[in-house]
């Protein structure tokens, strides 16, 4: 799936640029993006280190297990493949809470921690587990109570009411989340990927 998408993006881009006679755009875009990707990761290093450091303290102090205990009934339903007391549960909760609060830069480190814990249950396979797919379905469609960046943009262009779009955002994201979770359940239960 991903191999095909990746190849399609590249091949269609190169063909279109070639036919339009501006093939040099491809070179610029490719080299520029490669540099940007490293920049993105570079910017992540400090934030990742900070949050995973704080999380380690919370984890060793038992704080995360306490949090996971509170939400266990819901998590057990969503992640039947993960043992209820597994550290992955705590990391998943922290990631989703950070997303809901709009703390994007705290959400990513927690999310990666969750993936690492899920990967331990996945026997270090190269293939995604069902729990990982469910987690990412929740994550990519997660409700943000305060979409701070776009509110900021609206305010900077003198909107009469920069926050008026919040309700609409929550509605649209809720629809997306319902579809994502239902589809994930469907694939996990009935598709050839899920039955393996």
């Amino acid at each position: 799936m991903l191999n095909v998408v990746w190849l399609l993006l590249l091949v269609s881009g190169i063909i279109v640029a070639g036919l339009n006679g501006n093939i040099e755009v491809v070179t610029q875009a490719a080299l520029g993006a490669a540099r940007d990707a490293v920049q993105v990761c570079f910017n992540l290093i400090g934030i990742m280190a900070l949050w995973l450091g704080i999380m380690k303290i919370a984890e060793k102090g038992g704080l995360i297990n306490g949090l996971a205990w509170l939400l266990r009934p819901l998590l057990v339903k969503l992640f039947p493949g993960v043992p209820p007391r597994h550290p992955a549960m705590g990391a998943i909760i922290l990631n989703l809470s950070a997303n809901v609060l709009g703390l994007g830069n705290a959400a990513t480190p927690f999310g990666m921690k969750a993936m690492q814990e899920l990967q331990k249950l996945n026997n270090d396979s190269k293939e995604a587990s069902a729990a990982m797919c469910t987690f990412l379905a929740l994550n990519t469609s997660c409700i943000t109570l305060i979409p701070a960046t776009i509110i900021g943009v609206r305010a900077s262009f003198k909107s009469a009411d920069p926050t008026e779009i919040v309700g609409a955002c929550i509605f649209a994201t809720s629809c997306a989340m319902i579809i994502a979770v239902s589809l994930d359940y469907f694939f996990r239960t009935y598709s050839h990927w899920g039955r393996k």
Partner: protein, 177 residues
């Protein structure tokens, strides 16, 4: 009132965590600083590990976008969007949203600047930008950090959520504003 509470919560959340977690750990007699460093080291390696995955994905998306291939996709989707009641101007943003976070923010800002934040186009752009995450970025980074190469159905699920969110944004804006 509700909004100001929400804003206060998001403003206080990080300082609160930075205060409460170390103090709590100290009360539990943990060597807090050493524990922090131990966790921080993992963060460093994780950030470095995702570089190859992100380079691969960002290069492909960037070539797709810069070459003009994305514009053809937008042209092909246009009649469908107009049936849904969306102005043609917002479609590029809808296509960009799952591909690139910074690209989408740039397009949304441009639309808000040109048409005004309180116009229909400005509001639709705001709502589309304020919903769902950048699917390709999240999948690349999260799966990349643990070396997963086969995503199974995660991409289909994520993109379906993006399409749902696009359609729902158009619907709710037409209804509310």
């Amino acid at each position: 009132m509700f909004m100001s509470i929400l804003t206060a919560v998001s403003r206080w959340a990080i300082p609160f965590l930075l205060l409460v977690v170390p103090v709590y750990g100290f009360c539990k007699r943990l060597p807090v600083y050493e524990t922090f460093v131990e966790g921080a080291e993992e963060g460093f390696y994780t950030a470095v590990r995702i570089i190859p995955f992100l380079v691969g994905m960002m290069v492909a998306i960037s070539v797709f976008r810069a070459s003009g291939a994305m514009d053809y996709l937008i042209q092909a989707l246009l009649p469908l969007m107009q049936k849904l009641g969306a102005p043609a101007e917002v479609l590029p943003l809808g296509v960009m949203r799952p591909l690139s976070g910074s690209g989408a923010l740039g397009l949304a800002t441009e639309l808000i600047k040109v048409y005004g934040p309180d116009s229909m186009i400005g509001r639709m752009a705001s709502v589309m930008q304020g919903t769902t995450d950048t699917t390709f970025f999240v999948l690349t980074v999260y799966f990349g950090s643990v070396g997963i190469k086969k995503y199974k159905y995660a991409l289909i699920t994520g993109l379906s959520a993006d399409i749902t969110s696009l359609v729902a944004s158009i619907y709710i804006c037409n209804l509310l504003f």
